[in-house]
Subunit: 339 residues, 2 copies
């Protein structure tokens, strides 16, 4: 292969992100300068937050510019290096974007350029030990502060972040209730991932089912969804509850501003807290989290699921899978394996 | 006087609370039993939270029952006592309700039965040293945690709670911006209470004016209002901002659920926190707060305003003044003075 295939951001989205927001192109393979590393991307991560990066508005990272390759987390292999810390053949994690090849200046890359430890598969490194697993870990433990015996409610519970957050809560001795869409996801949560109860938001009355499944009310709500589900959860919070705002996927593709919950005063009545966070802030403590997550995988049955699509040409429609709820677990796409 | 005038809750409110929600009646003066105290109410406190007490729904206190005297904070004077801790003539603060006389069992009263210290006027005890001042103190300091040099934005800034919260922030070395309704309130805040900037929500574009008056963004938002003003404030929060949910007066008289802010995701992007509280939880630490507030009144120019109506017959329409924004400072009504 001597060309660099790319998917560029061609048009800012309005409503549901589509294939037509991106443009395919082919460019020469770039050359690394001094201190830089040329990486061939092999695994691509798909995350709801990418939808926000496509908008032209201030956020925790600058918007992707029109005409640039779409920003994405990647795992790849070093092709050539002019940086003493990396050599050809290293398997590395970075933010390589939607392209076959990328030149990375390790100090300047979003979230850096990090070698994948031996024995850790790309699937594991990009899910339970990657951004989504770390998001679950820090959001639940640092903000949610669950105590044994408390009730933890998770929305987007079958997703890559929600499923890990719920299982950590289970390992911490909490009663765990998950909200997910459809019988397959709900069955996996209850039968495999050890959730105490599940709520199928596509087929059940969420507000009523929270009341039924959380008889002692909700001490921690780990929210990936926002909108009506957040409102329903706020109806059932316990005294001094913690609402961890991880994401709000229900509103990411909205064309109009989505009204917030009508019942924020429940935060007052219940002396409760709602707090947001971005996992980037915790990256300097990733080793702590990864060590503990690995231990739970090996000793406490922490499961993770990956949904691996294949083929560079399918990258744009794989992003859509996140917003239509087609993925079960962490959405990835691979174009090859490290050699 | 040998009758007990009362205003009973006659009808639960729908929309703006009105005189017709209450019914006037006259009953015999009650007799205290063992351990109880008969108090003549002289000063009545009017608080936005009373609107919530009139609704038949769970909250931090049980609803007022139909046919019962309306619940209200009061200062009065002990007429007769069968409790060793109180004697006739004591000036006391309690929750005496909308009636001339009340029998109080001190252990069972909401917020107890407390003697007013010598030298403290009823006006001071029911405003800056009472529930509204303590609400400002604990909400701002315990939840808001303002640091010198930070920007503190206060809504309902000319109210009994907001004006004290803003002045405490000023005393703590913060830049303080207040949102209030109308030129008189705004002038008082800027010229008397020492707010750095004021926004007149009745005559100015709040969102735009927050941007102008808070060039370093908002570190603490002390919110008494909710609704559109909360949404505007969330547009301008700083990293790790604290949103103190004290009240939501904009929605208290709504007949339909009021949509919440569309921009809660700003809490995520800015790693910010929104938290509610009820001052009752802090009552066992009131002495600390009162000592410090008195010191600020004497040494740091902490001002408080009271709006004292007169006449038992005007109690119901005095409650309405809160929701139409007629009061400047703490709304009280007196029917007499301690002898």
């Amino acid at each position: 292969m001597n060309i660099n295939r790319q998917w560029l951001l061609a048009k800012r989205p309005h409503g549901l992100v589509g294939v037509d927001n991106f443009e395919y192109t082919e460019t020469p393979i770039p050359e690394p300068g001094d201190g830089e590393v040329l990486v061939r991307n092999l695994y691509f991560s798909f995350d709801p937050t990418q939808r926000g990066w496509m908008e032209d508005r201030p956020s925790y990272l600058p918007p992707v510019a029109l005409g640039e390759p779409m920003r994405a987390g990647t795992i790849g292999q070093v092709v050539s290096s002019k940086n003493a810390n990396f050599t050809a053949g290293d398997v590395v994690q970075t933010t390589g974007g939607w392209q076959d090849f990328v030149v990375i200046a390790p100090d300047q890359a979003v979230m850096g350029l990090n070698k994948v430890p031996a024995g850790i598969s790309p699937e594991m490194m990009m899910s339970v030990l990657g951004v989504t697993g770390l998001t679950a870990y820090w959001g639940l433990l640092d903000l949610g502060q669950p105590k044994a015996g408390e009730t933890v409610l998770v929305s987007g519970a079958a997703g890559a972040t929600g499923s890990v957050a719920g299982q950590i809560a289970r390992i911490k001795g909490c009663r765990v209730v998950g909200i997910a869409g459809g019988p397959d996801k709900c069955a996996w949560l209850k039968n495999e991932a050890g959730f105490d109860e599940v709520i199928d938001y596509k087929n059940e009355n969420v507000n009523q089912r929270i009341a039924e499944t959380c008889p002692n009310k909700v001490d921690v709500f780990f929210d990936n969804v926002g909108g009506d589900i957040l409102e329903s959860a706020l109806n059932h919070i316990n005294m001094r509850a913690r609402v961890v705002l991880c994401g709000g996927i229900s509103g990411y593709n909205a064309t109009q501003p989505t009204p917030g919950p009508t019942n924020l005063m429940n935060l007052v009545i219940m002396r409760a807290r709602m707090e947001g966070f971005i996992v980037i802030d915790y990256m300097n403590r990733s080793n702590t989290a990864i060590t503990e997550l690995l231990n739970w995988i090996q000793n406490d049955g922490l499961l993770y699921q990956v949904d691996v699509q294949e083929g560079f040409e399918h990258i744009p429609n794989t992003l859509q899978r996140l917003f239509t709820g087609q993925n079960l677990g962490k959405q990835l796409l691979k174009t090859g394996e490290p050699s």
